[in-house]
Each structure stands twice: as structure tokens, then as C-alpha cells.
């Protein structure tokens, strides 16, 4: 008697689960799966918009050939985007882990500092950045406060010279000084990642730190032996998030958009989008494979 009733509750839960998921399932089918399939079909054909809809003509791989071999911008933009991603993601991960550790410590005005550090989550957006980059007024104020843009360059330059004289590899020096120059971009891209790391840091049990302190571990050791392994699954999550985020707003995305809606070459645009998607999927796959081996899972 009791057993059948229990079974029926489980069944009821399953049915309710289907009910709760039904909006998502409808959306997935009609607004995701079918468009995805359509986009694959379009990428193999030429699409012409007519007053009553559109017509398709099968072209084979012609669109892919055009995108990869003939279009002067696509290859270059794609390579740029990947390079930019390779440069940015490690910096974002490093910065956000560091900041999260900082914000996790107890100090006066912590709430205020956190509020400011999460501000980029609110403000970081394509359009504001685009307007800000080409902005005459803010450049004027910047150069006036820093005593001329030349001086700003000089500081970086001095640092660069110092490090090269100290025998640091040229590539590393360029990388570091370049990242200092783009500090605002790095910070504004790290909001969500800081959040994720912070939540992870707070889930580490304090007893681990107490035990290590009893054994005489320094703060530095505690970070590398406790904090780092415990947040390592989140490093994977954050790397994946950063990769997706870095690809969501770049020149390739703009190019795909323009090809469709300024040149009305929908087939070519779909082909570009598929090349783009496959590349991202490959990168994510490789990254996940490489890192998941090193990740430590507590339970």
C-alpha cells in the first residue's frame, strides 16, 4: 500500500517536471533546434528574400569556400578574435581569482568595495564601450590629467626597458605591459567571473584553514594547497564562460551581422556563423580536455 503511494508521488513529480519544463522544451524545439537546422541548410544554399517569403537554391560548399578563401575580412577577423581570446582569458582568470581572494578577506568597507567591483557587470556592454573608445572628450580629460598621453606611454616604456634589462623574455614583457595598458577592459570583462570565484571561496569550509594553521602553514601555502585546489573546478567553469563571453562581441560577430543585413547575403552569413561556431566548439573541447585532468574535485 505504502509502496504504491510512494511510487505515485514520484510519478506525480515526474509529470510536474515535464510540465515545468514544457515552456523550455517548446522554446528549444521551435526557437533553437529548428533554427539551428535551418541555418545549416541556408549555409549550403543561396537565399533570396521575396515579398512572400524566400527562395533557396542549393549551392553545395560554395558559401564556405567564399567565406574561407575569398572574403578578405573573415579569416583575418577570425584569427584576430582567437588571438585576442588567447591573450585575454588567462589575464581575466588570474585577475578575477586574485580579486575574489581579496574581496573574501575581512576588512573595513568590504561591502562598498564589492559593490564597486561588481559595477562592471552592470555597465559592461558593447555599445557603451564602442562610444567610449572613440570619444574625444574623455581622451582630452585623460591626457590632461596624466600630463599628456606621451607620458602614459613612457611609463609603460620605462617598465618595459627595465624588465628587458633584467633579462625577462621579450614576449612575456610585451604581454605584461600590454595587459597593463588594457587594464580597464580586463576589469570590465571579469565581473561575473569574480562573482563565481567569490561564491566558490565562501563554500570552502573554514575548518580546513584552521587545521592548516595549527600545522604551521603560512597564508601563501594555504592558498596554494587549499584555496587553489578547492576552486579549481570553478577555474574550468570560468575559462569556459570567458571564452564564450569573449566571442559574443567581436569583429567576427559584427561581420556576420553585416553580411546578413547590409549585404543581404544570408547564405554566406550562415556559413560564416557555422565556421565560427565549430571553431568555438573545438577550442572549448580542447580547453576542457586539457584542464579537466588537473581539476581537483573534493567529493
Amino acid at each position: 500500500m505504502r509502496k504504491t503511494r510512494r511510487f505515485s508521488i514520484d510519478q506525480q513529480r515526474g509529470m510536474l517536471g515535464v510540465l515545468f519544463l514544457s515552456p523550455w522544451m517548446l522554446g528549444f524545439l521551435f526557437l533553437f533546434a529548428i533554427p539551428l537546422f535551418d541555418s545549416l541548410r541556408y549555409s549550403f544554399s543561396e537565399l533570396v528574400i521575396t515579398p512572400t517569403g524566400f527562395t533557396q537554391e542549393y549551392l553545395g560548399f560554395a558559401n564556405y569556400r567564399t567565406a574561407l578563401l575569398e572574403n578578405p575580412y573573415f579569416n583575418r577577423n577570425l584569427a584576430d578574435a582567437v588571438l585576442q581570446m588567447v591573450v585575454d582569458v588567462p589575464l581575466i582568470i588570474f585577475f578575477s581569482l586574485f580579486t575574489a581572494t581579496l574581496l573574501n578577506q575581512k576588512f573595513k568597507g568590504r561591502g562598498f568595495a564589492r559593490a564597486i567591483f561588481f559595477l562592471p557587470v552592470i555597465l559592461a556592454s558593447g555599445i557603451i564601450d564602442n562610444l567610449a573608445n572613440t570619444d574625444a572628450m574623455s581622451q582630452m580629460i585623460t591626457s590632461a590629467t596624466e600630463g599628456g598621453a606621451a607620458l602614459g606611454m613612457l611609463q609603460s616604456f620605462e617598465l618595459e626597458r627595465m624588465m628587458i634589462e633584467a633579462g625577462v623574455n621579450r614576449v612575456i614583457v610585451d604581454y605584461l605591459t600590454g595587459s597593463v595598458d588594457r587594464i580597464y577592459e580586463i576589469i570590465s570583462a571579469s565581473g561575473v567571473q569574480i562573482l563565481i570565484f567569490l561564491a566558490g571561496l565562501q563554500s570552502i569550509s573554514p575548518s580546513l584553514y584552521e587545521a592548516s594553521k595549527m600545522e604551521g602553514a603560512t597564508g601563501y601555502e594555504a592558498f596554494w594547497k587549499i584555496t587553489f585546489p578547492m576552486v579549481s573546478p570553478l577555474i574550468l567553469t570560468n575559462i569556459i564562460y570567458s571564452v564564450i563571453d569573449s566571442f559574443s562581441n567581436n569583429q567576427v560577430a559584427t561581420l556576420i551581422h553585416q553580411t546578413a543585413f547590409n549585404q543581404f547575403n544570408f547564405g554566406l552569413s550562415a556559413a560564416m556563423a557555422w565556421v565560427y561556431f565549430i571553431l568555438i566548439a573545438l577550442i572549448l573541447f580542447v580547453v576542457a580536455k586539457l584542464i579537466s585532468k588537473k581539476v581537483f574535485y573534493y567529493d
Binding site: 510536474l16 523550455w24 576588512f107 557587470v121 555599445i127 585623460t142 580597464y184 561556431f277 572549448l284
Partner: protein, 309 residues
Amino acid sequence: MLSLERWKHISWVFFRSVLIIGISYVIIYPILVKLSTALKHRSDIYKPTVIWVPENWSLENFQIVIEIMNYWTTLANSVMLSGGTMLLQTASCALAGYAFAKLKFKGINILFALVIFTILVPPQTIMVPSYLNYKNFDVFGIAGFLTGSQGLKLIDTFWPFFISSITAMGLKNGLYIYIFTQFFRGLPKELEEAALVDGASVFKTFIRIMLPNAIPAIITVMLFSFVWQWNDTFFTTLYLSNSNVMATELANLPGNAEAYIGEAGKIDWFYRSMLTNTGVLLAILPLIIMYLFVQRHFVESVERSGLVG
């Protein structure tokens, strides 16, 4: 020995304070620049002594930009769009997240893998079919059957956003489902069982017990969905080329400001930039005001928001 420890501590506190203040400055700096620019009068632009503090305080820039951007209509439209999508997305994603966490049925893990898949596919990939979809919107050909037309034209209305929100397929909705799933997974089973023993149905348990406990996750998702919809240019330029919302108005602002300044061929670039800065400030002002109110809950909720797997 003790004093060495003390010194170490003091120098660390000093180092940390410098870092935090420095980074905070970098984050706030652009807002300060915009504020200072917006409050200046046009005549201050070429005065070499005026950098941060305006000599002639003026709200003229605001008046002009409010007029150019059609600000109040735009604001109302944007609030309606972002608020509507926020409510619909939070509801649909909370339902889906709860199902994934607590209402398991056969094959649900495959569906969850598909949620992750939707996060990975860039929106550009399904951009063209989605656009054509909403251009002649017709599920199962119902509209065509009834009226003989080619379906409804939903471009330049808010419907594409609302339809995708109600089906949890809007902007970054995979991430929201993930957040909700992780959060509901973290809630103890006993909570649910106690309610069941007391005779509440599964649905009632969800509404009365689980949702009030999920407020941190709800606040996080609501803030994200409102803000990201507000700032989004990809979907708004795709579906709403002619409507007044903040993102499109901001994208058109430089051009419109030039038209306002007039005098073709000799446009004052600094003046134009002054107007664009004021426009950006006006566009993000509602977000900042909202953030000031929600910020405390948001920052606290981070600790329990279930972002961690």
C-alpha cells in the same frame, strides 16, 4: 618576532588598500569623466584651465540630449521591454531550473546537456533563421490557415523578446537555468519532505516553500536579465530597427547629435562628444539607481546564489 608579524600585517593591509582603491578608481573613472563632461557648458570645452570641474555649470547638455533621444518615451519603452523580459525569463528559468534539480524524470539529464549546448552556440549562428521566423511568424501554419496570409510580422514589436523569454530561450537564458538548477540542488531535501508530510502538493511546495528560499538566486537572475536586456545591442538592432529603446537610441546618438548641431562639414567634434557622453550617462543612470537599491541584496546573495556547482 611579534613585531615582525605585526609589520607584515600592516604592510599587507596597506598593499591591499592601495590595490582596492586603485582598481575602484579604474572602474569609476569613466563614469566620473562622463559626469564632469555632461555638467559643463559648451563654452568650457576649449578653456585650457577647465579639466575636471566645470567653470560654467550647466544642465543644457541634458536638456538637448533628452530632446534628441526622445528620452522619456525611450525610457518608458526600455523599462517595459527589460522589465517584461525580466519577469518572463525569471519565471520560465526558475520553473526549468526546479525541474532539473528536483523533479527528475527519465531522460532529463540529456535535456540538461542540451541546456549547456544552448549556452555554447553563439547567437549569430541562429540569427538568420530566427529573423525570418519572426518576420513571418507562424507556428504550425495556424495564421496562414486562418487568414491565408504569410504569418504575422513581429519585427519592430516587442513580441520576439517576449516569446523567446517565456520559452526560456532569450538572451543568456541557459546561464540563468544553470544558476537556478545549482541553487535548487543546494536546498536540503528535508525542507521539501517536511512540506510533503504536512500535506502540501509538489506544486504548492514549490510556490510556498522553495521559491521564498530561492530569493538570492531570483535577485541575481532578475538583475542580470534586466541589465543585459537593457544593454543588449545584438538582438535589439536585429528585431527593433525603428523602435525607440535605449540601446538603439544610443547607437544612433552620434548621428542624431550631428544632425542637431547642423552646419554640415564643420561639426564640432568635441561638442558632439559632449552630447554623446551625456547620452551614455542618461542611458545608464536608471541602471545605476536600480543597482544602488538592489546592490546590498545582490552582494549578500552572491554567497548563496548557487553559482557554484
